[in-house]
């Protein structure tokens, strides 16, 4: 496959960036999107140019590191798929593909396609934990969890914290991420003691980090590589309403 990519190049956090066009020739349709960038980077290095910086780690779709907005869609055109699991056969020979970093005030660009996603960690630090005694591991059946709750909690826990919801949201809000974390802990008996403080503290951390507010536009769930449902945001709202009414 011969394609053109237009990539956001930015030398550093405070440098001005711009879209730069590159020709990429002879790419296998079975290559992943990241492998295509790898091939392009090899050419750039051979020519003495600076390779394109991008985040990646497991390349198995479970680490949440890859973060590219491809043709305006976070993680590209394939539904419920991370950039690393997207293959070039989803594109046509001769296509011009635009690649941009996540765009959000809370996610400043570090270089090219790499952004700083620390604010998501700050939200987790504010309330994404449970209090449990340390020591020997408890018996697996010490705290029974209904199957329905365990499944729902697991669905929410599949959130890999990649930040695609923020990248896609017209308001730049991380509400789907926060909602997934609140549901994943709040559905379990172990998550009950901090349930009220969790929702208040995590929303406060989210606002402090400079994320926008949720208007239920629904862009987040359509790009989420794990298909986290938007209904979890309703659960967050319900938890929040109950928590502030108790204060």
């Amino acid at each position: 496959m011969d394609i053109k990519v237009r990539v956001w190049r930015q030398a550093g956090p405070s440098a001005a960036g711009k879209m730069v066009t590159y020709d990429v020739k002879g790419i296998s349709p079975d290559a992943s999107f990241l492998e295509m960038i790898d091939v392009l980077n090899e050419t750039l290095i051979l020519n003495g140019d600076d390779p394109i910086a991008f985040d990646h780690d497991c390349r198995e779709g479970i680490c949440g590191m890859c973060s590219m907005v491809i043709n305006g869609v976070a993680h590209g055109p394939e539904k419920a798929t991370t950039t690393c699991q997207l293959h070039m056969r989803k594109f046509k020979d001769g296509d011009v593909i635009d690649v941009e970093p996540w765009r959000a005030a809370a996610f400043p660009v570090i270089k090219d396609l790499v952004v700083d996603r620390t604010p998501l960690d700050k939200i987790i630090q504010a309330g994404g934990y449970i209090t449990a005694p340390t020591g020997t591991a408890p018996d697996a059946h010490a705290t029974p969890v209904p199957k329905k709750d365990a499944d729902a909690a697991f669905e929410a826990a599949t959130c890999i914290g990649c930040g695609a919801c923020v990248a896609a949201c017209p308001n730049g809000s991380s509400m789907l991420f926060t909602a997934a974390k609140i549901a994943h802990l709040g559905l379990m008996p172990q998550g009950q003691p901090e349930r009220d403080s969790r929702v208040i503290d995590m929303l406060q951390a989210q606002d402090d980090a400079g994320f926008g507010g949720c208007t239920n536009a629904g862009e987040c769930t359509t790009v989420c590589p794990k298909g986290i449902p938007m209904s979890l945001i309703g659960r967050l709202n319900s938890d929040y309403r109950k928590a502030i009414s108790k204060r």
Partner: protein, 210 residues
């Protein structure tokens, strides 16, 4: 957003139901307008109850616009650098047009009050019967007024299509089945409301009400 919006939706339905009185007869419509002003008497002086409602509505509108403005400012701040490539493939048309739709609705409401409540912009003037103002307003030669009315009412319909569902979600709706139900309620209420409002200019235009 959700609570103030819900109050405004209740008002819109009460207002639309009152409008339909015009199909009973022009003088019945005028009597309805007079009755509205007499509500609450003799407990309250004439038209006081109406003014209490108007103040309540203004507070709801104020809160609604304040919340919408705060969300818009936050959204702008949250994405200072725009995407170079941003297709409009996802989300619903209704959700995308909430902000501009809201601005159109505010402008329309101001015009609507100057036209049909105070009569300043109405060919019949402020001293005429309410029904005469309605009939004069939607006369075929004033097609541009009717067009603006239709566009604005459809904008209200789109606004509610997303707004009603979004209000359910904000107030804590969280099941998949409930989501489908809330979406259906939002769609049905929006379509019914638009049909109720559009029936009046349609009836005047076609001579059904004369």
């Amino acid at each position: 957003m959700a609570v103030s919006g819900a109050l405004l939706v209740l008002f819109l339905f009460a207002h639309a139901a009152g409008n339909l009185k015009i199909f009973v007869g022009l003088s019945d419509f005028d009597h309805y307008a007079e009755w509205l002003r007499g509500l609450g008497t003799p407990l309250l002086p004439h038209a006081w109850f109406l003014w209490i409602q108007r103040v309540g509505l203004l507070v709801a509108i104020g809160l609604h616009i304040w919340a919408a403005t705060a969300l818009t400012i936050r959204a702008r701040k949250a994405r200072p650098v725009k995407y170079a490539h941003r297709p409009k493939i996802q989300g619903s048309y209704a959700a995308r047009t909430m902000r501009w739709g809201g601005v159109i609705i505010v402008l329309f409401v101001i015009y609507h009050i100057l036209d049909l409540t105070t009569g300043h912009l109405n060919p019949e003037g402020g001293d005429s019967d309410p029904s005469a103002r309605v009939v004069a307003d939607f006369a075929p030669e004033r097609w541009y007024v009717t067009l603006f009315y239709v566009v604005s009412v459809v904008a209200v319909g789109f606004h509610l299509r997303h707004g009603i569902w979004s209000a359910f979600r904000t107030l804590g709706q969280q099941t998949t089945k409930g989501e489908r139900r809330a979406q259906a309620i939002a769609l049905v209420l929006s379509v019914v409301l638009v049909a109720m409002y559009l029936s009046v200019p349609f009836a005047v235009l076609t001579g059904l009400v004369d």
